[in-house]
């Protein structure tokens, strides 16, 4: 049990420290790396609680895919300089909106944590059977039976946002040559080579 609590404090201290470093470090790339460290230690905490499926999914989805995209954006856009100007420059208009959003999130967290005490009164507990089956099985049993509607709604929201993002950034380019495998394979000598009699001093026009 001592070992268990030592590991718990180890991971939670790393999680808290790295989440503080995300918002305080000057270099944006460093913040993203600290965010990744935060995700990993939260995943480890999930595994320690016994929710190994959720922990692994956090590692795969957040660390393996979302954070890579974060890094991409930060590296490409060179946000580092902009962030520096927030700290040193005279532009303080970001701070107001940041304060409002931050306070709202804090309020929501308080409501959620406070409501935890009364959660039995507010919502009926689901048909989760706490037996010795693995939590992957339990999640599957609940998610695709009781909550199938929410599950599909979440999927549709994700699909819509994906289509929206593609629509917003899509622009048709003209004059781009595309490769078509079928066209390439179905070429034969008779269609690829054309013999032409060229009269002298006339020339021919060749179109591709």
């Amino acid at each position: 049990m001592i070992i268990h609590s030592i590991f718990f404090y180890f991971f939670s201290i790393i999680a808290i420290f790295s989440s503080l470093m995300v918002i305080t470090s000057r270099n944006t790339i460093n913040s993203v790396f600290f965010l990744i460290l935060d995700f990993i230690s939260v995943g480890c905490l999930f595994i320690m609680v016994g929710a190994e499926f959720l922990g692994m999914i956090i590692l795969i989805v957040y660390v393996g895919a979302v954070a890579v995209l974060f890094l991409f954006v930060v590296m490409m856009l060179n946000v580092a300089e902009q962030k520096n100007s927030w700290f040193t420059g005279k532009e303080t208009k970001h701070i107001h909106s940041g304060l409002i959003v931050g306070n709202l999130i804090l309020l929501e967290l308080l409501v959620v944590v406070g409501g935890w005490k009364y959660k039995d009164d507010l919502m009926s507990s689901s048909t989760l059977i706490l037996s010795n089956t693995s939590n992957t099985h339990q999640l599957g049993l609940v998610m695709y039976t009781d909550y199938v509607l929410y599950f599909q709604l979440a999927g549709i929201i994700l699909l819509l946002s994906m289509i929206g993002a593609i629509l917003l950034t899509f622009r048709e380019r003209v004059g781009v040559k595309r490769q078509s495998y079928i066209k390439q394979i179905s070429r034969n000598p008779s269609s690829a080579v054309e013999l032409k009699d060229v009269e002298s001093n006339k020339g021919v026009t060749i179109d591709d």
Partner: protein, 335 residues
């Protein structure tokens, strides 16, 4: 307290018993790779150091150790040094869950396949950190390419894993192997095996998908600024990752430690030998492909991943699920 120290000592002994053979076999496998490559091109390959040139990799490693480590002046030093360490660590850490036989596995966890998938998807960080921290054009371009490539091919590998899991009904690697007692999954899921193999090539940055280090365009990609032991760590990590992908392929499709047919002379051999033979067979294919296939262009690579493999494996997933459902062959599970 003494009890804990004893447990710790035992665990360290078990970990070393796994890690040392893996490091030695990575060295041997590099030699095998170069030999196969040479033989395909009618050369001899490395054959001077030791019998058949077996100690060539050790000699190379010694050479790397004695070379100077150069850190570029404008590099981000911490991340620059961390990158090869992360690559190497992640490549070795994943071996903890690979079962070599029914008893011989370091930690038999419930979500083994998810753990493998997670660790292999973290592998992209070594490359992206190394490329960015070098603070130079070629490594950065190589890192961006490689990150995009690995993220895209992970998607199809994930769907292939779901295909296998539908037939097994468990995320435990042991259960996955034992479910293939009667029929290896390579037979009913053969198209998925092919797609998995090609995606594994792309995931480990092997030819024909070695665009992150395409020497004609990017010098050496993300490794350009690395030298000495740090380069060697990238290199060893890459080969350990390739072996890991081979082990994953043999567990998912080729029946892990199970013998080809469960009859008298074949099932006498200890089961780790079968596992090693299967890993070596897959690695031999990796080496052959390196020698005989030309490199893809970048847009072709992306097209293959997103427009061909992803829809194909999705359709096959639906087919597998409907087949299992219609013939009532869905695994019942232990609940």
């Amino acid at each position: 307290m003494l009890e804990y120290i004893q447990i710790l000592g035992q665990e360290i002994y078990r970990i070393l018993f796994l890690l040392v053979p893996i490091l030695v076999s990575v060295a041997m496998v590099v030699w095998l790779d170069r030999r196969v490559w040479g033989l395909v091109q009618k050369r001899k390959g490395p054959n001077v150091v030791g019998p058949f040139g077996l100690f060539q990799t050790l000699a190379d490693a010694l050479k790397y150790i004695f070379k100077e480590i150069i850190i570029p002046a404008s590099a981000n030093k911490v991340i620059f040094i961390l990158a090869p360490i992360i690559t190497m660590t992640l490549a070795l850490v994943a071996w903890a869950v690979i079962p070599m036989s029914e008893e011989f596995v370091l930690s038999d966890i419930n979500v083994g396949i998810l753990y493998l998938f997670a660790v292999s998807s973290l592998g992209v960080y070594g490359i992206i950190m190394g490329g960015w921290a070098s603070n130079s054009k070629y490594p950065f371009l190589g890192a961006i390419r490689s990150a995009a490539q690995m993220v895209s091919y992970e998607v199809s590998i994930g769907i292939i894993i779901i295909n296998v899991l539908l037939c097994v009904g468990s995320l435990n690697l042991k259960d996955i192997v034992l479910a293939q007692k009667d029929l290896w999954f390579v037979i009913p899921l053969f198209p998925m095996f092919v797609v998995f193999f090609i995606s594994a090539l792309a995931e480990t940055n092997r030819p024909p998908f070695d665009l992150p280090e395409a020497e004609a365009e990017l010098v050496a990609g993300y490794q350009t600024e690395y030298s000495g032991m740090m380069y060697a760590m990238f290199w060893l990590g890459e080969y350990a990752n390739i072996l890991l992908m081979c082990a994953m392929g043999s567990i998912l499709f080729l029946g892990g430690w199970l013998p080809i047919i469960d009859i008298y002379p074949l099932n006498l051999a200890p089961s780790p030998i079968w596992m090693i033979l299967k890993i070596l067979f897959l690695f031999f294919l990796f080496a052959l492909i390196k020698a005989i296939v030309p490199r893809y262009r970048y847009d072709q690579l992306m097209k293959l991943g997103w427009k061909i493999f992803l829809p194909f494996s999705l359709v096959y997933l639906v087919l597998t699920a409907s087949f299992l459902f219609y013939f009532d062959k869905l695994p019942k599970g232990n609940f």
